[in-house]
């Protein structure tokens, strides 16, 4: 084992890879959350025609593998002349954007479903209390239901973020150098497969540990402990 080479060359590459993984993950789960809020609200509507679109979206993205969705975006969209002529091609030609768009849309479907469950889990009486005090439907949603649902959804959302961290490993298949991408490149040079896969595993574990702590902190800040039964 050449430690000098490891610290000077391969470890920085792994850290670069971790940077790409974290960047993709952070943007995808935040953008996914923003996209999921209207989806989740519409999905929990009592009107069938409002539910239909988010339902189809969620059905597709939860019903097919992330890898397949990534290939559809990366290999599939470029088959259309119209796509290659449009402004969107500036982004869709870039594997980084393809991965980001796919991950965002994929996680948005799961988060929307988490939010729907959380919105429907807000006890009826608490919503009635808001309406009985004269809050309109939208005020009750904004000031009572969504803040309450956010706390119900938080543990499931943190779980989804950790699942996405691990699912993000598929992006190496479209030439991105995330943790997995860098690991495979290094292995191609060093032939030390077991060592570098092990190190890659440690990277994922470390990130998971940090994410868990961050969500624990947020749960504490939002007083999620106050929602447990009396």
């Amino acid at each position: 084992m050449n430690w000098e080479l490891f610290f000077d060359k391969w470890l920085p590459k792994m850290l670069d890879g971790a940077g790409v993984t974290l960047e993709l993950l952070a943007i995808a789960v935040v953008a996914g959350l923003i996209l999921a809020i209207p989806l989740g609200i519409a999905r929990s509507s009592s009107k069938p025609w409002v539910r239909a679109l988010p339902y189809s979206y969620i059905f597709f993205f939860r019903g097919t593998p992330l890898l397949l969705q990534l290939f559809l975006v990366y290999y599939g969209l470029s088959q259309f002349e119209a796509v290659r002529q449009s402004w969107a091609w500036n982004y869709l030609r870039d594997p980084y954007w393809c991965a980001l768009i796919t991950m965002t849309m994929h996680t948005a479907a799961y988060i929307a479903e988490i939010l729907r469950g959380a919105i429907q889990a807000v006890p009826t009486g608490e919503v009635e209390a808001a309406r009985a005090l004269g809050m309109s439907r939208s005020k009750a949603l904004l000031y009572i239901i969504l803040p309450r649902a956010a706390r119900i959804a938080l543990p499931a959302y943190s779980n989804e973020v950790i699942l996405m961290l691990k699912a993000s490993a598929v992006v190496y298949t479209v030439t991105l150098f995330d943790i997995m991408g860098q690991t495979r490149t290094i292995i191609a040079r060093t032939y030390q497969a077991e060592l570098y896969f092990f190190i890659a595993g440690l990277f994922y574990l470390a990130i998971t540990l940090v994410l868990t702590q961050i969500f624990r902190f947020i749960e504490h800040k939002l007083r999620v402990d106050m929602l447990q039964g009396r």
């Binding site: 006890p123 009635e128 209390a129 005090l133 004269g134 809050m135 106050m226 929602l227 447990q228």
Partner: protein, 270 residues
């Protein structure tokens, strides 16, 4: 009905005959089951009307119809002389025709729930100031000042920063009453406010309600606390199978009921 009621606050017999709340011929069905079969009731300013009756007589349903937490099938609701605009939904029930109007009515018609329904993710103080801020447009400072006074009034000023599930049931219900009072309602509806409480906490909530009655507040109270109802009410309404079976002053309804059903009920609840 010949005499106008005495305003309890001022002691002056009011010549304004506009009732605070008037309900005409209210009907409510769940499918084939007719729960309310035409109930009329008038509450003048300062009235404390207790609604009694056995389980399933429609008391809570009646109260919940008044601010449209339940949708009646027939009937009229007049609040401070203004008729609530209703329209028929596809399911046949009457729903609010003017959402601004129903929200305004609700903001002036307090409702206290059996299960308190405080928002568990907010402190007691935040529970109380939320609606005044969002509905009445009060500033946080203004709403907080009023809330502090109300918390002192219901005797839980020291709990302002506590969360609902850190409080006893009685304290939670008092916080819920303070939340309702913060909207400065013209009428308060109480839906079995002590039924979810342990026996030792019933009195602390009843004494808060009694104090409100003594202030001359207009209240409708669905309750099983017979002796309390007798003490605080200006009028008792006894419901049976969705109809007003007996109505009158507490002394009349408790001591000389004319209906056989009411006699039985009163004798079994001594």
């Amino acid at each position: 009905m010949a005499q106008a009621p005495i305003n309890r606050t001022t002691g002056v017999r009011s010549l304004v005959t506009q009732p605070a709340l008037e309900i005409r011929n209210l009907h409510k069905s769940y499918g084939d089951l007719e729960v309310l079969k035409g109930i009329s009731l008038t509450a003048r300013d300062g009235d404390v009307i207790s609604i009694l009756g056995s389980s399933g007589s429609g008391k809570s349903t009646f109260l919940r119809c008044l601010n449209l937490l339940e949708n009646p099938n027939e009937g009229e609701i007049h609040f401070a002389g203004e008729q609530l605009k209703l329209k028929r939904s596809k399911s046949g029930a009457l729903i609010a025709a003017d959402s601004k109007q129903i929200n305004r009515f609700r903001s002036q018609m307090g409702f206290v729930f059996q299960n308190f329904n405080l928002w568990p993710h907010m402190s007691v103080l935040d529970n109380i100031i939320e609606a005044p801020r969002r509905v009445l447009g009060q500033s946080k400072a203004e709403a907080s000042e009023i809330a502090e006074a109300l918390l002192a009034k219901v005797g839980i000023a020291d709990k302002r920063h506590a969360f609902p599930n850190q409080l006893s049931g009685g304290q939670q219900q008092r916080a819920a009453i303070a939340r309702t009072l913060a909207m400065q309602p013209r009428v308060i509806l109480f839906d079995e406010p002590t039924s979810a409480l342990d026996p030792e906490m019933v009195q602390e909530v009843l004494s808060v309600i009694r104090a409100l009655a003594d202030e001359g507040r207009t209240m409708l109270l669905v309750t099983h606390e017979m002796s309390f109802a007798r003490q605080v009410s200006s009028e008792i309404v006894f419901l049976h199978q969705g109809l007003v079976e007996e109505q009158g002053t507490p002394d009349k309804v408790f001591d000389n009921p004319t209906s056989e059903r009411c006699k039985q009920f009163m004798s079994s609840h001594r």
